[in-house]
Symmetry: C2
Subunit: 580 residues, 2 copies
Amino acid sequence: MRKLLRVNMDEEKVRFEEMPEGYRALGGRGLTSQIVADEVPPTSNPLGPNNELIFAPGIVTGTSAPTSGRISVGGKSPLTGGIKEANAGTSFAQKLARLGIGAIVVEGTKGEDSYKCLKITDKSVDLLDAEVWSGIGLYEAFEDIESEFGEDLGVCGVGIAAELSGFNSGIAFNDMEGKPSRYAGRGGLGAVMATRGLKYVLVDDEGAGGVEIEDEETFSQGKKKLADALTDHDVTKPGGALNTYGTSVLVNMINESGALPQENFSRGSDEESAKVSGEKKADVIEERDGERPHRCSPGCLIGCSEVWKNEDGEEVGVLEYESVWSLGPNSGIYDLDTIGELNWQCNDLGMDTIEAGNTIAVAMDGGVKEFGDEEGALELMDEIRKGTSLGRILVNGTKFTGEAFGVTRIPTVKGQAMPAYDPRGIKGIGTTYATTPMGADHTAGYAIAPEIMGVGGEADPLSPEKAEMSRNLQYSTAVIDTTGHCLFTAFAVLDIPEGLEGMVEEVNGVLGTDLTVDDIPDIGKGVIETERRFNSEAGFTKEDDRLPEFMREEELPPHNDVFDVPDEELDKVFGSLGME
Amino acid sequence: MRKLLRVNMDEEKVRFEEMPEGYRALGGRGLTSQIVADEVPPTSNPLGPNNELIFAPGIVTGTSAPTSGRISVGGKSPLTGGIKEANAGTSFAQKLARLGIGAIVVEGTKGEDSYKCLKITDKSVDLLDAEVWSGIGLYEAFEDIESEFGEDLGVCGVGIAAELSGFNSGIAFNDMEGKPSRYAGRGGLGAVMATRGLKYVLVDDEGAGGVEIEDEETFSQGKKKLADALTDHDVTKPGGALNTYGTSVLVNMINESGALPQENFSRGSDEESAKVSGEKKADVIEERDGERPHRCSPGCLIGCSEVWKNEDGEEVGVLEYESVWSLGPNSGIYDLDTIGELNWQCNDLGMDTIEAGNTIAVAMDGGVKEFGDEEGALELMDEIRKGTSLGRILVNGTKFTGEAFGVTRIPTVKGQAMPAYDPRGIKGIGTTYATTPMGADHTAGYAIAPEIMGVGGEADPLSPEKAEMSRNLQYSTAVIDTTGHCLFTAFAVLDIPEGLEGMVEEVNGVLGTDLTVDDIPDIGKGVIETERRFNSEAGFTKEDDRLPEFMREEELPPHNDVFDVPDEELDKVFGSLGME
């Protein structure tokens, strides 16, 4: 039976609790959202004493299920003011699960100058002093921690951005090289962790009993089916798109579709974008003796990741499509090394790259720097590191920065900045941005799959009728985020029915349940209903399920579209689900 | 028949329109709120192209009705995100009314580097270039304008704070000495004016026909009754409390009650407060050959104002109670000359003093300066003047500043900072702060009258049952704000029935209507319903009708109360009025 680890930072006490009956069939996002809904007052100040931070590995995380090393982190978001779940792929998740811990609940607030480090082993749970690592970057801190506590640990930490209570502060997890490059980045949960007084979490699973599996046979059958699907589908298979070019394979595709936002969402394509494409990046990685493909956590069959090296041959993190775009074309920057350095800065400071790149672009739109000013963009990172007033503006994200500098073109929903798809050119993803309880988030219901990639069906990106598609994608995504599988497994299971069956059988194997594929929509609906109810009680209405005004009025070159999905269509995605 | 003057800043065109039938019985707040509700999309960006700025003198403004020189300004507020009306006492209002102008509607947005000045005379309306006055303080600009256009003008302008698109930017009107000390300050309407591209409005009423009065006899009878009430009531009569000490008479009263917030709402009294009391200030004014009593506009019988001079004998504006408190005790500052200088800075930069004082206090709470640091507070004003990053934080007000510096004790409602009464010690005013559509605003329903002053009945300030009282006060206030009378007339008319009759008769005289005192609640209800409907359509819910979390949890010394008015009681104030 999985346990719940409760950490009270006021009393500096930890205790294990039996997992409540109602939580036993939950994991990942399903579990974090349920605990937040049950324990956090929806109207509480996200940085105040009544918020909580929840960690939960997925249901099958820590088993041998393929591509399932995800950790969900939940709380009330300082960026959106609503419920938040952000997840990352990291062995941290697997180690936690193998220790039999279904969730960590962190409550209470930071004492005077006393950041703590939570160290979890098979034998003990301790709160250690962590002041020594405050004010320093995460790369240095993760190295120190590895030296002090050993290499084979799951490490999680928050950086300078979180110490500044930044609304754009993420939670970093170590990658396979021990670097802080795996992020539950979105929504400012780093600041929730820091204001609890928690700076690091270390997980050592030596001697752990592993994840209990109720029905080994069903589980094995399921994981084989899923593995077959993953290794068969063009997007996920070895030598497939993700494995060859990583997520940046999208740069050319989305630029060609006219929906790759340039210079703060003022144009949808630019031929310069080719300089930062996945194809170009793969070439450079090869030249520099980097590594591609690579994995974020053990047991992944897709391998969408990489080890990117700078011109001096130093490893400087992973360059995902979203990061390349946000720190690149969206700020008029088309140099992979500058983007790589900006990405390293985000990882080191502890920030979400999507939010950070949008922040830089909006600051440029507000005249703080010129578009395309590579040195200028790096200087902005330094302002955050120094904690200057400008840094305090930037660390609070895109909306805050836009408001500081009188910018009205602010590409956010529920206060969270948009990912790398302009919704004026791809309307299903815009429908997801508008309606997910999370704020603008492509991973909440990845309509790009049918709209651009022809995966999971085909859809005209410019058709405004996207409520049903977005709803179905959001429901299935909520389930995937609950199981602990990487969202990229969706490419395979959307097209290959046996893959989806396999995923369900893995879950049945672990839990001893009898779920079928037909149960997926209802399970997803349940998760989203819980999240929407929290948001409703926090004061959200259908007016929060809208894109910014400028996207309905300013046409996006080159195709000169506006976002014309009617409000009624947006409201059809979830209807009154979860609302009072 | 009054006219509506529409000013389109995109086309740089002006035109007079007949006042629509439905607007003819409205003026002041009733009219600005109705036009905003009719013309501004509730979800529009307040600084974007779809917002409007409305000016409207009250129904009786410009006549000889006593104490009625108020101008209402309306729009969608960048500070609160909801509807806003702010009003000021100034001869500008009277001149506009005497020109037969019932409302000015300013629409469109600023062109590139082209601030304009709207000049209105009996013969012409012109948009002049106003670039020459951008970037300079309002005292200098108002002097320049007086030199260039003559002394006997109504002048209205926005300052550097508005040029920075500051959420705390007010609209200044000239006082009897031509200084920019009369403010429609709250809610950031200055930035709405500046983003329309309008910097100044000049009104010359030479040759104007005056306000049409339908029934002179009823009007005269009414104004006599109101004048008698004002000159009879202890609070408003010559030699009465307001006339002798001005609004600062409240410093000692509220400090004694334990509800004068000190150091960002962390204590409710301090014996040092006596150094900034109304009694002390009146002494200094006498010593320095200042003037007290004084009037904000011709025809006022109360005379609550003053001419405050600094140590060098220079006039530096009016020191109202709210300004003295916000720039003083709330920041741990107990020196009238420092407060006077801070107040001058607010007037010169074009900021609301309540918001600015709270901003300084929250910045101090966040460690930007120490509480009580007088020089430090003045330095913050300089940051705004220079438009530094810190200045851009501060100019966006209390909530923005608190969020930049990780402060969780942020005393705002709907994003607007609280006035000088801690709701933990005086619960009726807290009920008004929570529920008025305007954001925390004492003038929306001044429960201090019954709770502290024994005017309009008596109420225990600590009793949490305040829904009915707040509702009644808010309804009658909405009517007073619509007539164009100063809110301080309420002290007299709440206690003297003939005074209230007189006010209604003045309105009947001007409009030719047959209203009675019994119609007041319904008229007020109508105004507030319009405002609440706008807010509801903008996405507000009952969760926005709440005080900040910390006020329910942190006890306020010395009496150690929390704000314990139940949510249900707050929701009883207006029920579903105006909500979907």
